[in-house]
Amino acid sequence: MLLSYLKIAWKVLLRRKFFTFISLFGISFTLMVLLVVYAMYDHTMGPHTPEKRVDRLLFITKLELWSDHSQSNSGASYSFLDRYVRPLRTPEKVSIATDGGSLVAYVGNQKLKLDTKSTDGEFWQVLDFDFLAGRPYTVREVREGAYVAVINESTSRRYFGTTQGVIGRFLEADALRFRVVGIVRDVPASRMLTTADLWKPITVSTVDLRDPSYLGPCMAILLARDAADIPTIQQEFRQVVSRVPVPDPKAYTEVRVYAEPILGNLLTRELFRTTGPDNGTGRFMALAFGLSLLFMLLPALNLVNLNVSRMLERSSEIGVRKAFGATSGVLVGQFLVENIFLTLLGGVLGLGLAAGVLHLLNGSGLIPYAHFTLSGRVFGAALGVAVFFGMLSGVYPAYKMSKLQAVQALKGGTN
């Protein structure tokens, strides 16, 4: 039965090619835009290098001294994180690094600005980088303040002209000489919390590790033993924070600092700029869902319009089927299947278009080191969106068609 529905749908598609083109154009472009947006989201938030175990990671990037009248916020200081986050019992590992920074190197007279992250040794155990050569620097090298560095592939090419045999050579930046111990594959700039051109021990940075103030330039990354442990860790951290003495109690009443998963941390804190306990993940999801629904509404309406106006073509078919006892429900089912078939076809085209657009985006250098791809998750999303879109645009025409009076339909009228 399904097969015969699909056959009919195929024949209808071939009958009026111009209309098929209009429908497919709308569907495929709509899905393409949604897929590109989703692929970018997945690329930024999903489990990719170096945050491959993203479901087990928590980030602490912002600290706020808060009272009703006065707020002061920035990253956390190294000493704060070292004293209150490192000793937590529930995480498997804790890493502390700087938010970011930069160094300037010169190749001849050519300036090379290197985005830099200063980290501890645990950084390399919490995250999973793809090493092309060499190794990460160790906890011991960090403790001893060794001038060593891990660089990315592009930096190696730009500075040394090659990625071969670079290990052990020296890179001079800001009048400091770093021995290169490892080369990693480029990390896209969209992985804002971990990307850099050069990673170096935090003990050889300009960060004052003993500065007792709470605000500072650092962040912490927590690795849970299991994804299910995340709430436990957050719970423990909340308790620790509630016992932290408030500096300058005259000006501030509260220290606000939260450990959050990548989405809650990165997107919502930056997008909504909230600092309260609610990180706004729910609001973001609602907003994203609402916007994509709104975006689909116009193309869906367009498709509905087209389908309704083409009802007449099918009226004799509907009349015959009704006369032979098909119920409205069966007819609604048939037209929905036909419409979903059409949107799935559009979905396949949309996937192709999305692949092309992502390829263009990768080549454009819009986001440094970005490499957008269509992953399995994107395919899944495409399927889901196509079916949803098919339902959205198919229900009303199907309902209207099924309501045709058999006599009228056989006669060829619509009203």
Binding site: F19, Y106, N109, T206, L298, S309
Partner: protein
């Protein structure tokens, strides 16, 4: 004729409901995107109010150097930089430099008592040399100079947007305005100063003088340097070397303002381009759909059209009816859309000038009418070509 068309559409409002909704939505999208573009374009055409070519920003990070020594080291750095060939002027600045995205906003008040005129403005802390570095455009009065060393009040230069709010219809020169517990005296009026970037709205601002005796370092970590035309990487490298030689453990970062501007523009323009592309696609989609629907309806209305032709209507009259009908449908959709769009200037939620919204409304309306008319042309031509004898015999 027109009334007749309106009655026709009104009577079939249920059948036309979907079309009207579609046109309504298309209008709203065009209006929103149009407003954004008109707003950006108007801002882009306003002068920046300073000269950023050949100006480099030097960010200094003193690392772990004790606080007390930082200002002295910075002074040495400035002296050294000034002596380099290729460097023309050097001035300290607060971190809200052009195109940096940083801002430092406070309320500027006419009088100390609350309730008087006030405006929220960007505060720029600058040295005397900033006149030569960024060359802000001065309208009245004078720029800061040595005479201000003796003054007991903080000298301030306000921009024309600030003057319009605080001193409408009077000269602000010499006037005293409060700044927290202290007082400031206006010594000059500058033109529009849009350090926030090319697409930012002209907003109130004030320049506050940093005297050469000021030895604080924390708010003045940034240097702006005007270099000779043609200065490039060699000078940049030299500057970095000199800075690092003087400040042990310091780090510095030099960025030409032109580069910073390009980076900022890219960040703002990219989403705009994406918005326009998506909008164009939606509109094409609507146009194609509309065309399809109209074409289809002509086929369904052959007998009606045949009858009109048989009763003596010219081909022209038939075309006019088809185009007229769709324009009337558009009018219904537009009326709904304008109702929604009018809420923006009426409620004034986003603080954008009404003229921006009006221009966008006008553009969107014109575009929708053009679009629907163009979509109706071919179907109307088809309709006009219907032969009455053929059409009537089909029935």
């Amino acid at each position: 004729m027109l009334r007749h068309l309106f009655t026709l559409i009104w009577n079939r409002k249920r059948a036309n409901f979907l079309l009207i909704t579609e046109i309504f939505l298309a209008f709203v999208i065009l209006f929103v995107v149009g407003s954004t573009l008109v707003y950006s374009q108007q801002n882009y055409r306003t002068p920046l109010g300073f000269d950023y070519e050949q100006v480099w920003q030097v960010d200094l990070d003193p690392g772990m150097q004790p606080r007390a020594q930082r200002a002295a080291t910075q002074r040495q750095v400035i002296q050294r930089l000034k002596s380099l060939p290729g460097v023309r002027f050097v001035a300290r600045s607060s971190s809200n430099t052009p195109f940096s995205g940083n801002s430092n906003r406070s309320d500027l008040r006419r009088t100390k008592e609350s309730g008087g005129a006030y405006v929220n403005g960007n505060f720029y802390y600058v040295e005397d040399a900033m006149r030569d570095v960024l060359a802000p455009h001065l309208i009245e009065g004078r720029w800061f100079d040595k005479r201000d060393d003796a003054s007991t009040r903080q000298p301030v230069i306000i921009t024309q947007e600030t003057r319009e709010k605080l001193f409408p219809g009077e000269s602000p020169l010499g006037k005293i305005i409060p700044n927290g517990d202290q007082e400031m005296q206006v010594v000059g009026v500058a033109g529009t100063y849009r350090a926030s970037g090319d697409l930012s709205e002209p907003r109130a601002a004030a320049f506050l003088r940093v005297s050469p005796q000021d030895t604080s370092f924390e708010h003045l970590e940034t240097l702006l340097v005007r270099v000779q035309p043609g200065a490039g990487a060699a000078l940049e490298k030299r500057m970095t070397t000199e800075i690092l030689a003087i400040g042990k453990g310091w780090s510095s970062n030099i960025t030409p303002l032109a580069e910073q501007r390009a980076a900022q523009l890219k960040l703002i323009v990219t989403p705009l381009v994406a918005l326009v592309v998506v909008c164009v696609f939606l509109i094409i989609n609507v146009a194609l759909g509309l065309f399809g629907v109209l074409w289809q309806t002509i086929n369904q209305r052959r007998t009606e059209i045949g009858l009109r032709r048989a009763l003596g209507a010219s081909a022209r009259a038939i075309s006019a009816q088809i185009v007229g009908e769709i324009l009337v449908v558009s009018t219904f959709g537009l009326a709904l859309g304008l109702l929604v769009a009018a809420q923006f200037p009426l409620l004034g939620v986003l603080g954008v000038k009404t003229s921006v919204y009006l221009t966008a409304m006008l553009l969107a309306t014109a575009l929708i009418y053009t679009l629907t008319a163009v979509c109706a042309l071919y179907p109307s031509w088809l309709a006009a070509g219907i032969h009455p004898a053929v059409a009537l015999r089909e029935e």
